[in-house]
Symmetry: C2
Subunit: 901 residues, 2 copies
Amino acid sequence: MNLPVNSANLPHQDDQYVYYFGGGTAEGNATMRNLLGGKGANLAEMCAIGLPVPPGCTITTEVCNAYYEQGKQLPHGLKEQLSQALDRIERDVDARFGDASNPLLVSVRSGSRASMPGMMDTVLNLGLNDVTVEGLAQRTQNARFAYDSYRRFIQMYADVVLGVPHYYFEDAIENLKMEQGYVLDTEATADDLRELCDHYKSRVEAHTGVPFPQDPQEQLWGAILAVFDSWMNRRAITYRTLHHIPESWGTAVNVQAMVFGNMGDDCATGVAFTRNPSTGVAHFYGEYLVNAQGEDVVAGIRTPQSLTIASKEAGDTTLAMEESMPEVFRQLESTCSLLEKHYKDMQDIEFTVQNHKLWILQTRAGKRTAAAAVKIAIDMAQEGLISQHEALLRVDPLALDQLLHPTLDPNAPKHFVTRGLPASPGAASGRIVFSADEAEIRAKMGEKLLLVRIETSPEDIHGMHVAQGILTARGGMTSHAAVVARGMGKPCVSGASSVHIDYKTRTMHAGAHQFSEGDWITIDGATGDVYEGVVPTISADLSGDFERLMHWADAVRTLKIRTNADTPEDAKVARNFGAEGIGLCRTEHMFFDAQKIIAVRQMILSETLEERQVALAKILPMQRQDFIGIFHAMHGLPVTIRLLDPPLHEFLPRSEHEMREVANHAGISIERIRERAHALHEANPMLGHRGCRLGITYPEIYTMQARAILEAAYAVRAEHNITVLPEIMIPLVMHPDEVRILKNAIDEVAADVAQHHKEVLPYMVGTMIELPRAALLAGAIAPHAQFFSFGTNDLTQTTLGISRDDAGSFLGAYKKHGMFDHDPFVTLDVEGVGQLIHLACERGRAVRSDIKLGICGEHGGDPASIAFCHKMGMDYVSCSPFRVPIARLAAAHAVLKEKSS
Amino acid sequence: MNLPVNSANLPHQDDQYVYYFGGGTAEGNATMRNLLGGKGANLAEMCAIGLPVPPGCTITTEVCNAYYEQGKQLPHGLKEQLSQALDRIERDVDARFGDASNPLLVSVRSGSRASMPGMMDTVLNLGLNDVTVEGLAQRTQNARFAYDSYRRFIQMYADVVLGVPHYYFEDAIENLKMEQGYVLDTEATADDLRELCDHYKSRVEAHTGVPFPQDPQEQLWGAILAVFDSWMNRRAITYRTLHHIPESWGTAVNVQAMVFGNMGDDCATGVAFTRNPSTGVAHFYGEYLVNAQGEDVVAGIRTPQSLTIASKEAGDTTLAMEESMPEVFRQLESTCSLLEKHYKDMQDIEFTVQNHKLWILQTRAGKRTAAAAVKIAIDMAQEGLISQHEALLRVDPLALDQLLHPTLDPNAPKHFVTRGLPASPGAASGRIVFSADEAEIRAKMGEKLLLVRIETSPEDIHGMHVAQGILTARGGMTSHAAVVARGMGKPCVSGASSVHIDYKTRTMHAGAHQFSEGDWITIDGATGDVYEGVVPTISADLSGDFERLMHWADAVRTLKIRTNADTPEDAKVARNFGAEGIGLCRTEHMFFDAQKIIAVRQMILSETLEERQVALAKILPMQRQDFIGIFHAMHGLPVTIRLLDPPLHEFLPRSEHEMREVANHAGISIERIRERAHALHEANPMLGHRGCRLGITYPEIYTMQARAILEAAYAVRAEHNITVLPEIMIPLVMHPDEVRILKNAIDEVAADVAQHHKEVLPYMVGTMIELPRAALLAGAIAPHAQFFSFGTNDLTQTTLGISRDDAGSFLGAYKKHGMFDHDPFVTLDVEGVGQLIHLACERGRAVRSDIKLGICGEHGGDPASIAFCHKMGMDYVSCSPFRVPIARLAAAHAVLKEKSS
């Protein structure tokens, strides 16, 4: 064939375009990723350390760049270098490219610096033609296999190299099956397949106008050019744009000898793990099949056998590889051990034995369960294979979530109903209830319940508290139900849109499944799955390896980890998980308590200061008691309390019954309540009369809260001898004067309380930074604020102009366009919101060098966001109790990655 | 008396603490404001130019600072300097301080560098005691006046200097009146008042323990120290904090001789204007009273007489001052003329004649109507008194608003009903209608209407269009009604909270006033006043002086002025006012047209792409026609068109009738419409599925609009030979990819349209910067955007986290606290939002040096915001049509103030 070689472009003397690997040696190694691509560098590395890898060579990424720079011409000298490499491959595997009786077959694969999965198809079995296929049939004693390989090669090559679409061949095999009355592809005989090959070739010719190439050299160069051309196809360009991969990186091409595990009974194929991927136990482990190829293992037609005697199941009469091929087994075992030591991680290895010779086809870090990940990391550190720091980096913080909650018994039978969003992890079973009130009543009778709602609101909190878990038909990962459930550590499946709920008849259906109130269901908040009835669960074990990992993380991290907790119960859970304080205690959740809500409603409905103060006087002792409970639970650790934040109308009675209740209680007409509720209605409550705007307009609310907090601090000191550091936090600040005015008011209350107790206890006053203006004016706010806590939920909403509650209708389209790598409400938008945080940290510290900086809100439990907070030099992150261990590990990661970068 | 003099602190040789003025000379002048305070510097200036100002002296602000630095001790030497100054005053007015027969009386006043109105009370008539009061009585031949002065002096001095509260004296005069059977204070006789003085003095002694000071020196120093002490009182400290006045500025003290216009018929008092303050005509003008003091003019007991013969009303038989005191009159006239020449502005002058001697008590720039301001500025420039640039600076741009609209005839009788907010200027009368539909029906019958609504929504637009004006019971200065009315240039009174509307009975009441549909009312949008019936109006005259002023402004300004216009009518109005393009054409307003709304609703209710395209195909020709109309009206000037912006649910049918109409039209069930409406409901629509999020999720909507715009451009070129520059604007951008993706889509449409017309017409694609993230990422957005238009309404909402619609409930409290000098939705928040704009301008220009920058939204018509835009180097501002002249002048001011700063 005529190659597009640029003859003007003579090679430099030392221009090496092709890097050989094989026979226990390699011209490249793992560090040459940029030149050889990820796959090429790895193959070279394995060869270099003496592993039996099928020999091959890598055409460098520089060739790809030269190809495009020279107007799609290959550099002079490449052909010769590849030819020499091919000679070496032939020698290594004792087969020859295009040989009639002993043909060398090769694979051709792209491999760029960054992984671009699915961007370029692979061509396997290249070198087959009408002649060599017969040689393959004879050597494998398997004509069916040989022609099936040939058929697949034609189809693959036609698709990838010749541009003949896949579906051109689909009907041919369907026709064959119809004619012969077959059901499965596998029923086709060797003769059928030979006929099919002829048919395929004629299809290719009909489409391209020329016969299917029989010359292996032509096949080879066709595939290589196809790989280079694929670098600029639409799919690759889009992928690169989305993943910010520069075009200039180019792709390498790997040409590698094919080996076969199906050439007789001295052949085999299999998969090995250096440790058990589901438990982490350090035993060699795996499966194999004699006289088979990889596809047979996947297809599941034959049952694979165990590699080791030790891991054979009871009653398994088949031979372990340890028994059937003891010598090759030992070689495999020691090779795998070598690989684990080399890569210092548990390996997942694909191998083939061809005529008693072991070939390693691939090795990679093995996927594992969270439990296995923890065990393997700890074990390897204790074996001295890796350091404690490396062990920490081996465990994905997010994976810990699996360990902290009960999980469904994987072996239990399950009846699937539907799937929603995995909104809060953990598994739970309970009887369906459709209202929070019903939940409360039934819970008192000792029933286990699952609260099922179209969506939840702050009024459902008491029902969520008593339920085992929550299922909603609407709302995303950051809906009310999801956020509150995560805070409570309760399982939640949200946005299960196929669930239709009828509150009137107290029934729901999902597809054909019909349920009534009181029926049992089970949800898996880690997957979003919903099941009929009760599915048994396995509970979490946080001792042993997990505990050790946490201690190692604590020794490394510099960020403190606090928790978001509104109740003494949450606070206790979080302390058990290692929380070092409360970073966000939301006082409004306390207001929904059945006892308090009436007084709160009376307060809101007040039209005069006097009326309001009567109601506040009722609330004060209850609030004080709330804070005593929390201070007691935290036992001297710092507690940040946010003053009342949400718009008042969230507390308003909605139902006729509730309105009447408040009307009676406050001694006013229901009509006035309706009017007031109407007057409090807002077009955009998120940007309305809330946060410290309540404190500015109704100072008596904030001073009541400040008094309750401070009096609680004195009470806890008197009753339990615990000295508390309350950090009183002012929300939704946009102007320095808000902080100045409200801090003055709090200081006045504090002076008054101190005078009464004849003792001055410490406290701090600080502010949330959750509006862009607060971040921009941080330098003017800092003189009045002893700490900043970044409220990244609202800061994200305002910076991006997205209402989290309403984002569902369009964020999907944005993700499809690849505009956000991660949901900005889950992982902090460093590019945008991050700029404001950075600026606020700098300006705040410039004015008050010891200002305490932290983050509360959902991002505080997200590892990537935690890394950002670490980089900003914050003092702490605060997250929901069940995220505390994740945050501890992520904070350690942040330190270690910073060092290594 | 013992003065707190710091004897250790000996004066430097040249330390001057007291600056004398009087007798045609002065030690200070107008430039010494920092040392002498505003009042002291001005008095010195007037003396220095030879005006007959009552002599006096100023104790410097440095004395105030020294007083506080030395622990409230006066500097050594001050007493001597003041004593010398007092001697000079005595000589100048030929009276002596404390003299029994010819007593000098003085006033003592504070005067700081910045005006602090009401911060310090004045003490008048100081020097009166039991002896000098008799001397005053004899000299004035008016014992009643002398004792009334003494009584007032005791009360004032006791309050300001001795700390005896005002109310200590209140009952004394009440008792006197009861005893004597008087109704008015003025009925008291000299003897009554003498008795009252005794009573007052005993009250003072009872409160302070010492007798009321009879020694004039003691009185004087008491008053001086009181002024210094007042600098640190709570009221002053608060005022300084609110107005950012440094404590270190200190206050000066002015001691000035009292003069009396009531010592006989050779005495008088009056007020003069150098030009007519209501018309601006350059005639000397004013009023006086013989043998009277200033208070008599104010009290209105006697009718003042004209100063000049020319300005006497027909039938006025009283003597003008020109006749009664020709010599003093000529002196006054020439003094006033001198003052106008000196201060180069129309002066408002207070004078007193004491025994034939003229004294000027005060001069200041006279308040004037907008018409007078324009005329005076133009006249003075043409007289050569000031330059054209100075003339421009003399007219407050905002005052022009008065000239652009019809105004109520000031002489017409009026029946006041209530007052709301002055939401959109102009006066209008009409019959009350309570619905937009009713307005439309009645308008067709030729009726003049006033649309009265609780509040308005986009669905009322057609009613607002046909009404003469709008009155709402709810909503602020930036409510829907206010914004739309200003855009239309229609009078609007919003938030008239005393108006109660009953839509059912079609009635409204405000207090005792009751109205039914069809009754006539009149509103004044410049004041917020509402009147019964028809009040005649005077229409605007934009020729002559106004036109000249505008031309001068145009010659100076560098900012272009565009307009926000959605219809050809608006566009024409704006062009008449001088608009140089459209900066914001909102396409959604077009959608509310009765013809279009049904198709638009069908489009929104579509659930599939196909359904939506059917509806869009109906809308396309109508949109194209809209743009043809606007392009034609703008005749080649640039037109910026914003693609669809508001949340879709704003267009949804609300009433049962509308739902049925759409259901019939689209051939779907009303139930489905209800469902879809429910699905489109949003918690915070301002941050919801709107702006370019619609373009990303439903690209076909934006491409339809782009096609309509571009096809219109070709049509206008073909039909009218007008070449248009459409600037297609993408709203609510938060991510560079939004602009990239949508620009690509628009470019594809443009290529298609160009191919069809076989001609390429120019167009631009740009973006709004109205979310903080867009401002922060401006550098990444600019490569895809040919222009930025700052949407400061939304940028303010998101940066401050304030929903404009909901701000009414708390912004009032913020203003009370002085947190915002101006409503941030009226005047750009330079401190916060301004930072983001600055940053976006810089980053945008860094990437694309020729990027076109402008601002649309309400701030584009606000002079302070325009000055900021000028400073940022923007290309244009865009504002509602009736604001265009204001913006032209404000843009000129920005240039001139920049030069002078």
